[in-house]
């Protein structure tokens, strides 16, 4: 396939900017694949893997911008590359550059800084994070691709200085009402929550909010913190801090599976906690009760238990959580041809995908995924769904050189259309995550594909039922009620909770024999 590249020497841009340019170039007719990235060694390997090789790329350095295009013909390649500068200028016009380019200069401007938020490429994180710790700053590290050795070193150093390292790969924190990274505008209150998963924390804090409760702090720890390699360093420090914190009455821990060794240490520490504790470790719901600990099977159950521990009634919980609960239409399954009997889930939130798998598995369904509960459920080809399949579209397969599906719904919209034409699909399950740094109109970006998919299916035999959850509050900038209305107008059954939406899918599939 014809290809070409352009290099812009000494023009460094952050990843979101580059992906914005990439997105513009990829929409040009005839363009098959594009890459807009900095010329680091890692990125050069990535380009090589895409089959893009050129002497100019070999010679490019980490501060040089590389633009590569594969297209149907040479003329399209040339035209796309000629448009690069216009795309760059157009993107630059929407931002006001900062004159500050180093952590040291930043600290000269804010000498009283107490927190560094780091979203740099993974290979640069360790050195900058060390400098921040040396300067006495706590850390929120959103970046991934930081080695476990480096994470362990950073956390050991932080521990020796009493500093908190949220991350690496930390999506969400809310400290004293201030959302960092991806966070929802939730009410302040007396429930403190700790967790390694960004969307897990978002779902928990939103469920607490919807039930009338509030959050003192939500402390993200980074996705690897509960591994045996890291040993729960940040989790344990956060737990002690919330135990001392006068604004926190109840402490919750929401996580995906933890390393056995870490879990033993953590359980002992949780049992010794002087404040009431609620624990939800997805994938561990079959756990026997531990003295003094409430183990909850779902995020909803954990939120409800935390609310009750605060002395608030949990009455009206179900209706509060449901935007649209149309009830079961008895003829929904009857109208389907017999072979149309499978569920497909396409998720922006990794924890939503995980929790849905857990709920479906417990209902007796065999579920496949690119991010499965256990090795048995691993999907051979993530692009090819089989039977009941749930896809975590935030997985690396889909985010390499692309924006996360919480920011850019393009790939998910494409996959919705692909699943819609599969004659075996009966129900489509989606999640939408609102809040800071998420897409401005997450439903609007995708609803066209939902309508088109349902239309295509209606023209053939059968019908496609679409079920969605929205993780968000009325105070998020995306306008929760408008997002929900858009979905409902498209015939989607909408819930405020991933667990409830998943339960509803089970009801829809209940006629199938494999559901227990």
């Amino acid at each position: 396939m014809p290809q070409g590249c352009a290099i812009r020497k000494n023009q460094y841009y952050d990843s979101v900017f580059l992906m914005g340019v990439n997105s513009r170039l990829s929409k040009i007719a005839g363009v098959r694949q594009t890459a807009v990235l900095m010329g680091s060694e890692k990125n050069k390997v990535l380009l090589g893997d895409m089959g893009i090789r050129a002497r100019e790329i070999d010679e490019a350095g980490p501060n040089d911008l590389v633009i590569a295009v594969l297209a149907d013909d040479e003329a399209t390649v040339r035209s796309a590359l000629e448009g690069v500068d216009a795309a760059l200028h157009s993107m630059e016009a929407t931002t006001t550059p900062s004159e500050i380019h180093t952590l040291e200069d930043g600290l000269r401007v804010k000498s009283d800084a107490n927190l560094a938020v780091v979203t740099l490429p993974g290979e640069y994180v360790y050195a900058e994070a060390r400098k921040a710790l040396d300067a006495g700053l706590h850390l929120f590290i959103f970046s991934s691709n930081v080695s476990l050795e480096q994470e362990r070193e950073l956390k050991q150093l932080a521990l020796s200085r009493g500093l908190l390292v949220m991350g690496p790969d930390c999506g969400t924190s809310i400290l004293g009402g201030v959302g960092i990274g991806f966070a929802n505008a939730v009410r302040r209150g007396t429930i403190g929550v700790i967790g390694p998963s960004g969307t897990g924390l978002q779902e928990f804090t939103c469920q607490v909010h919807h039930a009338g409760g509030g959050i003192s702090h939500a402390i993200g720890t980074g996705s690897h913190d509960l591994s045996n390699d890291i040993g729960g360093s940040t989790t344990l420090m956060a737990l002690e801090a919330l135990e001392r914190d006068p604004s926190t009455d109840v402490i919750a821990l929401v996580a995906k599976p933890a390393g056995d060794q870490t879990l033993r240490v953590l359980t002992a520490r949780l049992q010794a906690c002087t404040k009431p504790v609620v624990v939800c470790i997805l994938g561990r719901s079959d756990r026997a009760p531990d003295a003094g600990l409430e183990w909850m099977p779902t995020i909803d159950a954990a939120a409800r238990a935390a609310i009750e521990m605060c002395g608030m009634p949990a009455t009206g919980w179900t209706s509060t959580l449901t935007i649209s609960d149309p009830g079961l239409s008895p003829d929904v399954s009857a109208r389907r041809p017999p072979r149309q009997r499978f569920l497909r889930g396409l998720f922006a939130g990794g924890t939503m995908c995980y929790q849905s798998q857990q709920i479906l598995s417990q209902a007796g369904l065999t579920v496949f995924s690119n991010a499965p509960l256990g090795v048995d459920g691993l999907l051979e080809n993530p692009e090819q769904s089989v039977e009941h399949t749930l896809i975590d579209m935030g997985d690396e397969t889909y985010t390499q050189g692309r924006l996360h599906p919480m920011i850019d719904g393009t790939l998910r919209a494409q996959r919705i259309l692909a699943e819609s034409v599969d004659p075996e699909v009966a129900v489509l399950l989606l999640d939408f995550v609102l809040g800071t740094n998420a897409a401005k109109d997450p439903v609007g970006d995708i609803v066209g594909a939902i309508i088109e998919g349902r239309h295509r299916r209606a023209k053939e035999a059968g019908n496609l039922t679409v079920v969605a959850s929205i993780c968000g509050t009325e105070d998020d900038s995306q306008d929760l009620s408008q997002q929900a209305s858009l979905l409902m107008e498209a015939g989607v059954h909408v819930f405020w909770s991933n667990a409830r939406a998943t339960d509803y899918c089970i009801e829809l599939l209940r006629d199938q024999q494999e559901v227990a």
Binding site: Y12, S98, T102, L115, V178, I180, A238
Partner: protein, 57 residues
């Protein structure tokens, strides 16, 4: 004894944002004290030179 993390939770947050501008903008929208660093790789991104500089400084 007050730990540094207790001060962090008590607030206010004073933040240095290294990298994505959108993160700083969302913090500013919450009326937080934040400085944006349009970070550039030191030493032109040369890993060996960065390592050398880190050892010298």
């Amino acid at each position: 004894m007050t730990e540094p993390i207790d001060d962090l939770l008590r607030g206010p947050l004073v933040i240095v944002n290294l990298g994505l501008r959108g993160f700083a903008e969302s913090l500013e929208a919450q009326a937080d004290d934040v400085v944006q660093v349009d970070w550039l790789p030191p030493a032109g991104g040369d890993a060996e030179m960065i390592d050398l500089l880190d050892k010298l400084l």
